[in-house]
Amino acid sequence: MSKGNQVLEEITSKEYEHGWNVNLEADEAPMGLNEGTVRFISAKKGEPEWLLEWRLKAFRLWEKMKEPTWPNVSYPAIDYQNIIYYSAPKKKATLNSLDEVDPELVKTFEKLGISITEQKRLTGVAVDAVIDSVSVATTFKEKLGELGIIFCSFSEAVKEHPELIKKYLGSVVPMNDNYFAALNSAVFSDGSFCYIPKGVRCPMELSTYFRINAANTGQFERTLIVADEGSYVSYLEGCTAPMRDENQLHAAVVELYTMKDAEIKYSTVQNWYPGDKNGKGGIYNFVTKRGLCFGDHSKISWTQVETGSAITWKYPSCVLKGDYSVGEFYSVAVTNNYQQADTGTKMIHIGKNTRSRIVSKGISAGKSQNSYRGQVHVLKRASNARNHSQCDSLLMGDQCGAHTFPYIDVENNSARIEHEATTSKIGEDQIFYCLQRGIDEEAAVALIVNGYAKEVLNQLPMEFAVEAQKLLALTLEGSVG
């Protein structure tokens, strides 16, 4: 296995390729968090009174809350007064086409290999690019508008569709849900809003790219997707972040709301800066994601490929309220060097005949710690609920750790719940089999890892699968894909 170790060595010594820094003059809030900061953000965005009140309420709740300590991660205490809670690119004129976008921004995307123009032309993906908290480019909007689909930045939605925001904001993730959700509710800067009207099947994948840009800026995105009766939407979210020395906080909230017969498919590729190989720097990714299957026969499917962040703390969940509703969770989480990930899902079965499926694949390398934490909760009236969970861990190297914390709480006797988990390393016999057939060791490792994660990668939309594989490869050498 000396070659195998060599491969792992290469993987672990790989530098972060996507590190860069765009020089955008930021319009920042003063450092620190108090009521004034909340008012500043709200005023800056020209928000109506009710939203300011909502933010302030959240802020007051947050003040009384304590940072959770139960996740299986450790990090130096965050000084919440040492963070700039708002920064926006200076140019604020309304943009109609890409030409009006700051050329430096366009360059940024090109560097990442995901140019807006190209995506727009070749793949038909509408891109709502978020750089440092304010949307600067929204494409395909008119085309979507014809179908009655609303897809815009959060602040725009507040102005143009206040009735929808008022109705659904905080309906899935209440502001007092947890410490970071409360923080986000108080200071969220911007994000995306999406509404799919009755019976409409969104013809293209919707996508947003988040980037953290100015130093010392926490990102507090808020995404809200509402799928009305019988509609369907597939939403993609991808993240890459520049190299940075001090830790950055990212506390986003994502809310999904599906009505009768509706379906939302939410895919994430996350590649925030993970810190260097000594564990210095890197993003703290504390995200609250939750979907509510409100109507009967509705469906929510989460797919995530997590390769970045120094610390990931994230549980995309499904509340299966409607009868016959379905929740799915597919995840690949890769940790390397000193990364720590505590991620998983919650499936709350409330309605009758609800089904859920969990597939979680963890890969830990270097000195990283990778935890799966999930809950399957079947409430009393959820008869005939069905769940199958599978969480596998793959260990590469003898200094990393893999942990599994599944909670299974069943209160209904007709529910059928199955959970299985395995932990192993790449088998020497598997490598041997490949070598025997003339596949060299590096390719064999790639083949096996790829096969291991395939079940999840297959869930990603075509446009995204390529990038996901790229990012997987970035974390685990150039071997995957």
Partner: protein, 454 residues
């Protein structure tokens, strides 16, 4: 500070206790500490004081505490017990009905937390196994147990272990010399008689198997009477190199009985361990079974079965801690919940950084028979070594409709068909039991239980 002085300042102490999160736990913790100061203990004072100091710091676990999330013991103890009265008399004369028929074994009996010499019979010679009460052993055999007593089961690991270490009334030292095969099993009966008044008993066992020895232990927990019983039980087993321990626990408490059992087993190189835990009755049963595999080439099998009905809460927390390479552990716990009963299972597998080539398996399967029964299960793997094979699986469901239909289509009435399927599900965990007398006794116990209810 002397013990007497402490007792006098007991009242003062009440005010100095750390602020507990709820007012309900505050009282009970004080009462327990007070009970300690009122008791007169002859032996192990240093151990007791140390444990008490820790207990004073933590108190009984609050419901919010992760390890006791589903098991509100503190509340039950406060509601049902008067801690100023600890000693209680028993009216039991014959113990015949609690024994396992035809079992040829050493019989050791505890009644209400006290060792009862008149009911006990030791048939193995002392050259095979030394059996002494802890109170006696403290005076004569301290060199045998001092290296282990309260060390393997650290009082700080669990509030109930701390309480037990501070307040134990009686216990046993079981010592098997090197290269000895104890031919007759040891049967320990823990009997609590709450016919006259409530019973609080706290007992403790320390068992040491020296190199190359072999022992089979059967423990049975019974109670009778209408008053409440609280039994806080701790035991430590040291299984040294090349030793072999067979351990079986039957919890058949009746009525209003609350039990917490902390069992810890420490294994050294090349040792073999088989444990079996059967939980049938009681108001609340909490088992903490910790197995420390601190040696290479060890083998550990542990099986459990909980058949619950009524309002019983059966909580099994198990830990297997692989500290050294090349060992194997296999765990299988099954549960059938009926009535308003609640089953709780938490199985932890730890594989420490140097424990390469570890194979660890765990499975937990549950059947909910009634509408109002619930199960909370949390299998937990924590692995820090890469060259290992570990897996866990857990399920919850009800009987297979097709299997039921198959039996009914062959003329078997539904209740019998159900009982048959449940019996088949449950009896699998009995397979590893080697003692035939014990096995057929347990088999009958299970069959009787299932037929009676379905």
């Amino acid at each position: 500070m002397s013990l007497k002085l402490k007792a006098m300042t007991g009242l003062k102490k009440k005010l100095l206790l750390p602020d507990m999160s709820t007012t309900t736990t505050r009282n009970i913790n004080n009462e327990i500490v007070e009970a300690f100061h009122q008791s007169k203990f002859d032996v192990a004072k240093e151990y007791r004081n140390k444990a008490l100091a820790f207990f004073e710091k933590t108190g009984l676990p609050a419901v919010k505490q992760e390890e006791y999330r589903f098991t509100p013991i503190a509340k039950s103890l406060e509601k049902n017990f008067d801690w100023s009265v600890i000693q209680s008399k028993s009216a039991i004369e014959s113990i015949e009905e609690f024994l396992i028929p035809n079992l040829d074994a050493n019989i050791l009996v505890f009644v209400n937390g006290k060792y009862s010499e008149s009911h006990s019979t030791i048939i193995s010679p002392e050259s095979e196994v030394k059996i002494k009460t802890l109170n006696a052993a403290f005076k004569t055999d301290s060199e045998v147990f001092a290296p282990y007593f309260d060390k393997i089961l650290n009082p700080e690991s669990d509030p109930f272990a701390a309480m037990n270490s501070a307040l134990w009334q009686d216990g046993l030292l079981i010592h098997v010399p090197a290269n000895t095969h104890v031919s007759k099993p040891i049967f320990i009966l823990h009997l609590n008689d709450a016919g006259n008044s409530q019973v609080i008993s706290q007992t403790k066992i320390l068992g040491i198997l020296e190199k190359g020895s072999q022992l089979s232990v059967i423990e049975k927990f019974d109670s009778r009477g209408t008053h409440s019983v609280f039994h806080n039980f701790s035991e430590e087993w040291i299984v040294k190199e090349k030793s072999h321990l067979e351990y079986c626990k039957v919890q058949n408490d009746a009525g209003k009985s609350y039990q917490v059992a902390n069992t810890i087993i420490h294994q050294s190189d090349n040792s073999l361990l088989n444990t079996f835990t059967l939980t049938l009755n009681g108001e609340l049963v909490r088992n903490n079974l910790n197995i420390i595999i601190d040696g290479e080439n060890c083998e550990s099998h542990f099986y459990g079965l909980y058949l619950l009905n009524g309002n019983t809460l059966g909580d099994n927390h198990t830990v297997v801690d692989h500290k050294k390479p090349n060992s194997f552990s296999n765990e299988m716990y099954k549960g059938i919940m009926d009535g308003n009963s609640k089953g709780v299972f938490n199985g932890k597998i730890f594989v420490r950084p140097h424990a390469q080539k570890t194979n660890a398996f765990q499975s937990n399967r549950n059947i909910l028979v009634s509408d109002s029964a619930t199960v909370n299960t949390k299998p937990q793997l924590e692995i820090w070594a890469d060259d290992v094979k570990c897996s866990h699986g857990c399920t919850s469901g009800q009987l297979d409709e097709e299997a039921l239909f198959y039996l009914r289509s062959r003329g078997i009435a539904e209740p019998i068909a159900k009982a048959m399927l449940l019996y088949a599900f449950a009896s699998e965990v009995l397979t590893p039991i080697k003692n035939e007398t014990l096995k057929s006794y347990l088999d009958n116990l299970i069959a009787e239980r299932l037929q009676k209810n379905f």
